[in-house]
């Protein structure tokens, strides 16, 4: 655990930089985390965050496939929005925990 300051707010983050309390999240915080990931945010990114945060609140275990079928973007589009690690990066920027891959 560590404390970080994003957009003037002190937040707790995990070793890998994921917010420990999703309710502390704001759009300004998102923009700063995104900067660390080298991503400039667009409206499309925020649509993805909305979806992720809503699903997370419902207790749904998110997968790339699920987001690809959300109607916001397809999987290819998700990779374009969040190059490298779409679900990990989008989860981190939207303030929800690191996705767990369950096999």
């Amino acid at each position: 655990m560590a404390t970080k300051t994003y957009a003037g707010v002190n937040v707790e983050v995990t070793e890998e930089g994921y917010l420990t309390d999703p309710t502390q999240w704001s759009k300004d915080i998102a923009a700063e985390i995104a900067k660390e990931e080298g991503i400039d945010l667009t409206d499309k990114h925020f649509e993805v965050f909305d979806y992720l945060r809503t699903q997370h609140e419902k207790g749904v275990q998110l997968t790339i496939r699920m987001v690809g079928k959300s109607g916001i973007t397809d999987i290819k589009g998700l990779y374009t929005l969040f190059p490298g690690g779409p679900l990990k990066k989008s989860s981190r920027i939207s303030g929800i925990p690191k996705p767990t891959s369950c096999v």
């Binding site: 997968t63 496939r65 079928k69 999987i75 190059p83 490298g84 891959s101 369950c102 096999v103």
Partner: protein, 409 residues
Amino acid sequence: MKKLVVLGAGTGGTIMVNKLRKVLDRSEWDITIVDQHKTHYYQPGFLFIPFGIYNRQDVVKPKADLIPAGVKLIYNAIDKVDPENNKVLLEGGQVLPYDYLIIATGTRTVPEETPGLKDKLWYKDIFDFYTIEGAVALAEKFRGWEGGDLVMAIAELPFKCPVAPLEFVFLADHYFHQLGIRDKVNIKFVTPLPGAFTKPRSSKMLGELMNEKNIEVIPEYYIESVDNDKKELVSYDEKKIPFDILTIVPTNMGSEMVERSGMGDDLGFIPTDKFTLRSEKHENIFVLGDAANIPTSKAGSVVHFSADVLYENLLSAIEGRELMAKFDGHSNCYIETGFGKGSIIDFNYDTEPLPGTYPLPGIGPFGLLQNTKMNHYGKVLFRWIYWHILLKGKEMPIENEMTMAGKKL
């Protein structure tokens, strides 16, 4: 007469009817089990077929031999469940009303979900080993093969028996060593996971084994399509991996029957209470094994351990009592590592695979997260145990709940 209907006569359905026929009074309860296929496959054995260790005869028995007297076995495809009216509709029009329903229809591989997978190279240079047909075709391919790029890839999560692809590459390493052509075979392990496996300790141990055996792990790779002309995998972020032989775990989905019934999630798995194993929507429906969406491995050991919980809870439900038995997500996997050795992992919803001894703390004989000959013998013996003890629902000298005794933190 009250009616219990079980859908699917695989590992889960077979265990359940064997257990339940002994306790549900025959003058009060009809038990019916439905499956479209007449052959029961010992699925853990499929892995050995490509390497000529087992053949088709080693992994089959007629389902009828495994279902106890007093249970009605119907060979018929299932159209759908009508949960609002407590009925199962079979293809051809037969209707089975039920008081309680157990759905154990498992998971299936759906290569059609990945463009280019089931195309002109299917069963020529691209194989799965999760079906008897794929495993046998791959055995034939290997026999005449002189080497090249052998790529083992996983299309989507979750998938059945998550250690099987690891075992496959370990056995392939051994097999091509024996043939004297290992230096001509380039083995790659391609996975959407962040490493060789999921959880930190087992991923590390298995990753090191991969390294020792000169198998390249390509993690976080999400397959978009297969290019049949260039013979390469293409990922969503356009990384390409060439292959001469591609062994694939296709996307796993629940039964089409579940989809038709409108009871599944986006992959056709049924939302199920992960502790009680009851359907989240319907009080008189329980879901066993791979068909459920519970967050643990899709594996025979999970079916076996959770069968005890489902059994308790179904009897409680029938008697109008609260469901007290809670499944802990216990999973236990033998991992063949080649050269006559094996490893074992034992874990549940909350505890990752840890090193130690199993099943007797401090004694074993099996070593958790260790690579030993004894573990391999365990896997070899298990086939007999499966047919004669496990499917019959008999007591085994291991607990269904995971224990921390014998594990080292």
